[in-house]
C-alpha cells in the first residue's frame, strides 16, 4: 500500500486546552482508516487540521509524498481532501443542489448554472440511495438524516482522493448505514481513501481496514488491523482502562404504580399512541429515523401541541402544550439535539444543571453567588462528569460529558419521569457504559424512563417494554425479552423491508 497522507507530531492548543498533543497518522491509498478515541480525544480537531480549518502549532503533513500545509479550507480542498464535518456543515437556507456545489458552483461569467448543479446532485443522491430527496428542496427542511446524506453527497461531488467522515452515521438508521458503506466500498475500490470516525465499534469492524487510536490528543496506537484487533483491546487503548460496555441487566422487576399514562395521543405526524410507564420501568421506542419517535416524546413533554389525546402523570392530566406544566409534574427531557435544544453552551456547567430547579436555590427570587454550585457539584460527582468543575463553560466539555450534564439537570430536579431521546448519540464507549448504568440506577430508584434510540441493541438491552414505531403509528408493543434484533428490524422496516 502506498501512503497517501502522513501526519507526524501534530500539536494544537486552544486557550486553556491542549486538544492535540503529538498525533501521528498514516493513511494509505484506497483504504478505510478508522480513527478512534473517546469524546474529547481530539478526533474532530485533527480532521479540522487536515481540512485546513485549523492551523496546527507544530507537526508535519505529507500529502502524496510531498510536505504540505493547508492554510485554508480552500487549500485542502484543492489538494483533494473532502471532509464531512461532525457538526452539520450545511447552509439551511440554500437548496440541496446549492449546498452540494457550494464553493465549486458550475458557472459561466459568474452566473450559476443551476441545471448542471441539479443534475450533478440528482446523480449523487441516486448513488447514495436517496433519489427521493429533491435537489431543489431547502436543506433546512430535511430531516437530520437527510441532511447527513446531503453532506456525504457534497463530499462525493469533490471527486477527492481522500474523504474524511466525522461520525457520519450518528443520525443514520441501519438501512442507511448499509447504503453508506456500499458507497464507501465503491470509493475505495476506485482507489479513494477514507478516514472514518465513529463511536460504534461494530461499524469499524465492518468497514475499516486499519485503526488509529487517539487518547488525550495523542496517538496511542497506530495501524491496528480493524477486523482482528479484539474489541476489549481497542477500548482499553481508548480509555486507558478496561470498560464494561455491555448493558447491565435489570436487577429487579419494575413496580406496579403507573407513573406516566399516554392515551390516544396524536400530533402532526403520529396518531393513536398509547402506553403506560410504571415506576422503575424503562420503555423503549424503536423505529427508523424520521418515524416520529422524537415527535412523540416531545409531545408527551408538552414541547409540541397534541392534536388529540391525554398525558397523565400519577393520574393527573397535564395541560397540553406546556413544558412548564410537565416539568412541574416531574417530567424531564434529554432532547435529541444536545447542543441546540439542551445546553446553554456558553454558560457554566452549574448554571446548565440548575436551570429547571433554579427557584429552589433562591430566596424570594434572589440567588446567592454560586448558590447552586454545591448542589451541582454533588450531582456531577454522582454522574462522574469530568472535569468535576461546576464553573467550567459547558462548551469546553466533550460530547459525552455534555450529555451527562443534561442528565444531571434532571437528576437535580428530581422528577419521577425521564424522557431520553437518543441518550448515547455521539457518546463514546466509556461514557456510554456509564449512561447505561445510570439509567438502570434511576429505574431502580423508581423513576419511569422512556428511551428513544436508533440502535436496536440499545433499546433491547435497556427497555423492559419496547414500542416499535413506524410512520407515526405504534405497530408493535412487547416485552423486550420477547424480541430480538432481527425481529425488531423487520418491524421497523415494515413492508419497505424486502
Amino acid at each position: 500500500m502506498t501512503s497517501l497522507l502522513t501526519v507526524r507530531g501534530i500539536v494544537k492548543t486552544f486557550p486553556g486546552v491542549r486538544a492535540l498533543d503529538g498525533v501521528d497518522l498514516d493513511v494509505a491509498e484506497g483504504e478505510v482508516h478508522c480513527l478512534l478515541g473517546q469524546n474529547g480525544a481530539g478526533k474532530s480537531t485533527l480532521i479540522k487540521v487536515l481540512a485546513g480549518a485549523h492551523q496546527p502549532d507544530a507537526g508535519e503533513l505529507t500529502w502524496a509524498g510531498r510536505p504540505v500545509a493547508f492554510p485554508s479550507p480552500h487549500a485542502a480542498d484543492a489538494a483533494g481532501i473532502a471532509t464531512i464535518h461532525q457538526e452539520l456543515d450545511l447552509v439551511p437556507g440554500l437548496s440541496v443542489a446549492e449546498n452540494v456545489v457550494l464553493g465549486h458552483e458550475p458557472s459561466r461569467l459568474g452566473f450559476t448554472r443551476l441545471r448542471d448543479a441539479e443534475a450533478l446532485t440528482r446523480g449523487l443522491l441516486l448513488r447514495l440511495g436517496h433519489p427521493e430527496i429533491p435537489p431543489r428542496r431547502e436543506v433546512g427542511r430535511l430531516s437530520a438524516a437527510g441532511q447527513q446524506v446531503v453532506s456525504v453527497a457534497r463530499a462525493l461531488a469533490r471527486r477527492a482522493r481522500l474523504i474524511v467522515m466525522d461520525e457520519p452515521t450518528a443520525v443514520l438508521d441501519p438501512n442507511e448505514v448499509r447504503n453508506l458503506f456500499r458507497v464507501v466500498r465503491e470509493l475505495t475500490a476506485e482507489g479513494v481513501s477514507v478516514v472514518y470516525i465513529s463511536h460504534r465499534l461494530e461499524e469499524i469492524r465492518e468497514i475499516g481496514d486499519r485503526v488509529t487510536v487517539l487518547k488525550d490528543g495523542a496517538t496511542v496506537a497506530r495501524d491496528l488491523p480493524a477486523r482482528t484487533t479484539p474489541t476489549a483491546e481497542v477500548i482499553r487503548l481508548m480509555t486507558g482502562r478496561p470498560v464494561e460496555h455491555a448493558i447491565p441487566p435489570p436487577s429487579a422487576p419494575p413496580g406496579d404504580e403507573v407513573v406516566l399514562e399516554v392515551e390516544d395521543l396524536a400530533g402532526a405526524d403520529f396518531r393513536g399512541v398509547s402506553f403506560t410507564v410504571r415506576a422503575g420501568e424503562v420503555v423503549g421506542l424503536a423505529g427508523l429515523v424520521g418515524s416520529g419517535r422524537s415527535e412523540i416524546v416531545e409531545t408527551v413533554y408538552g414541547a409540541r401541541r397534541a392534536t388529540a389525546g391525554t398525558v397523565r402523570v400519577r393520574g393527573r392530566a397535564l395541560r397540553t402544550g406546556s413544558v412548564a406544566a410537565a416539568v412541574r409534574a416531574g417530567m424531564g427531557l434529554c432532547p435529541e439535539e444536545r447542543k441546540s435544544q439542551g445546553l446553554l453552551l456558553h454558560e457554566s456547567v452549574a448554571r446548565n444543571v440548575s436551570l429547571p430547579a433554579l427557584g429552589r436555590f433562591a430566596r424570594a427570587g434572589f440567588l446567592g453567588p454560586d448558590a447552586e454550585s454545591g448542589a451541582a457539584r454533588a450531582v456531577m460527582a454522582r454522574l462522574d462528569v469530568r472535569p468535576a468543575d461546576p464553573s467550567r463553560p459547558v462548551r469546553t466539555l466533550s460530547g459525552g460529558n455534555q450529555q451527562k450534564v443534561v442528565l444531571a439537570r434532571w437528576l437535580l430536579h428530581g422528577g419521577g419521569v425521564l424522557l431520553l431521546d437518543e441518550p448515547t448519540r455521539g457518546v463514546d464507549v466509556g461514557a456510554r457504559g456509564e449512561i447505561y448504568a445510570l439509567i438502570r440506577q434511576l429505574a431502580e430508584q423508581g423513576v419511569a424512563v422512556v428511551v428513544v434510540s436508533s440502535e436496536i441493541p440499545e433499546v433491547l438491552g435497556l427497555a423492559d417494554t419496547v414500542l416499535v414505531v413506524r410512520e407515526g403509528r405504534v405497530v408493535h408493543t412487547a416485552p423486550a425479552a420477547e424480541l430480538d434484533e432481527g425481529k425488531v428490524l423487520d418491524l421497523v422496516m415494515g413492508a419497505a423491508h424486502v
Binding site: 480552500h74 456543515d89 447552509v91 439551511p92 440554500l94 458557472s107 450559476t112 431543489r136 431547502e138 402532526a268
Partner: protein
C-alpha cells in the same frame, strides 16, 4: 401547522421554488408567492386609497408613489444584500448624503455630469469598503462600525458642504428627475434597473448564492472554501454603491446635495427588508419582499398626505399599520405551504 412545527421556528422561507415550469419564472413567482401577505397589504392600502381619495388611483399619483419609493428603494436593494449576508448597515442614509454633497460641490460640478456620477459612486463604494474592511478584517460588529460611519459621514458631509444645501447646476443631472420616457419618470426606470440587477445577482450568480451561504452559516461557508471575509467586505461595497446611485437620484430629485438628506433612511431600509421577510440574522430573504416593503411604506405616506392627516395622527397610525401589515404577512406565510 402540521409537520411544519419542526421548522416553524424559522418564519421565513427563501425564494425556494414550489414547482413550476422554467426555473426563472419559478424563482420569480416564488419571490412573490412567499410575499402574498405583503401583496395583500398593498391591495388593502390601495382599496383604502381609492375609497378615501379620488386622486389615489390616477396614473400621476401612482407614479408619484413609485418616484418616492425609488431612492429608498435603491438603498434597500443594497441593504437586502447586507442583511441576507448576515450583517447590518446603519450608514446608508448618511453615506448617500455624503455622496450627494461630494458630487455637487462646485468643483465636482465643474467637471460635468459623468464626473459627478463617478464621484457619487466612488464615495459610496469607498465608504462601503471602509465599513466592510473594518467588519470583515477588523472584526468589529457591523452595528458599531456602520453606526460610526453614519456619524462620521454626517460630519464629513457637513464639513464639505459648510452645512448648506448645494444647488445642482448641472443640467444633465437636474434633468434626471424631470425626464420621462413613455410617460414614466427616468428615476423609476433607474429604480427598476437597480432592482433587476440586484435580483439577478442575488438569485442567479455565484456571488448572490454565496451571500445566502455566508449569512446562513458562515462557518459552513468557510469550511466549503469560500473567502468569507472578502465576500463580507464586498457586500458592504454593494450597499455603498447603491448609496452612490441613490445620491445622484436624490441630488437630481431635490436639486441639491445636502448633509440633511437620508436622515433615518437606515431604519426605513432595514424595516422594509424585514417586513419583506428577510431574517435579520441572515441567510434567508427575498429582494422582491424588500421592494414590496418599501412600497408599503411609501404608499402609507402617500395615503396620509392625500387625506391631509396631521403629522401626529400619521405617526400613531403608521406604527399600527406596520404591526398589522406584519401580522397579515405572517398569517399568510403560515397558511401557504
Amino acid at each position: 401547522m402540521s409537520e411544519q412545527t419542526t421548522v416553524s421556528a424559522e418564519p421565513m422561507a427563501t425564494e425556494e421554488p414550489a414547482a413550476g415550469p422554467s426555473p426563472w419564472s419559478r424563482l420569480f413567482l416564488g419571490g412573490v408567492g412567499h410575499n402574498l401577505g405583503l401583496v395583500a397589504v398593498l391591495a388593502l392600502l390601495a382599496v383604502v386609497g381609492v375609497a378615501t381619495a379620488d386622486t389615489f388611483a390616477t396614473t400621476a399619483n401612482l407614479l408619484t408613489i413609485l418616484t418616492s419609493a425609488s431612492i429608498i428603494g435603491v438603498i434597500t436593494v443594497g441593504a437586502t444584500f447586507v442583511i441576507i449576508g448576515g450583517g447590518i448597515d446603519l450608514s446608508v442614509g448618511k453615506l448617500m448624503a455624503l455622496a450627494s454633497v461630494w458630487a455637487t460641490t462646485v468643483a465636482t460640478q465643474s467637471f460635468g455630469p459623468w464626473v459627478m456620477v463617478l464621484c457619487a459612486l466612488a464615495v459610496g463604494a469607498a465608504g462601503g469598503l471602509l465599513n466592510g474592511l473594518l467588519i470583515a478584517y477588523g472584526r468589529i460588529v457591523p452595528f458599531i462600525v456602520t453606526l460610526a460611519m453614519l456619524i462620521s459621514a454626517q460630519g464629513l458631509a457637513e464639513r464639505i458642504s459648510g452645512r448648506r444645501s448645494q444647488i445642482v447646476t448641472d443640467p444633465t443631472i437636474a434633468a434626471i428627475a424631470t425626464t420621462r420616457l413613455l410617460g414614466i419618470p427616468l428615476l423609476v426606470y433607474l429604480f427598476a434597473a437597480v432592482v433587476a440587477i440586484g435580483w439577478v445577482v442575488l438569485n442567479r450568480t455565484t456571488f448572490g448564492r454565496r451571500t445566502f451561504a455566508i449569512g446562513g452559516n458562515p462557518e459552513a461557508a468557510r469550511l466549503a472554501g469560500l473567502d468569507v471575509r472578502r465576500h463580507t467586505a464586498a457586500l458592504y461595497v454593494v450597499s455603498g454603491l447603491c448609496c452612490g446611485v441613490a445620491a445622484i437620484m436624490i441630488a437630481s430629485l431635490t436639486t441639491t446635495g445636502s448633509s440633511t438628506h437620508g436622515t433615518l433612511y437606515e431604519l426605513d431600509a432595514i424595516a422594509a427588508v424585514i417586513i419583506g421577510g428577510t431574517l435579520l440574522s441572515g441567510g434567508r430573504g427575498t429582494l422582491v419582499g424588500s421592494i414590496l416593503g418599501v412600497l408599503v411604506f411609501t404608499t402609507i405616506t402617500n395615503l396620509f398626505v392625500l387625506n391631509n392627516l396631521d403629522t401626529d395622527v400619521q405617526n400613531i397610525a403608521k406604527g399600527a399599520i406596520i404591526v398589522a401589515a406584519v401580522l397579515v404577512q405572517a398569517r399568510a406565510r403560515r397558511s401557504t405551504p
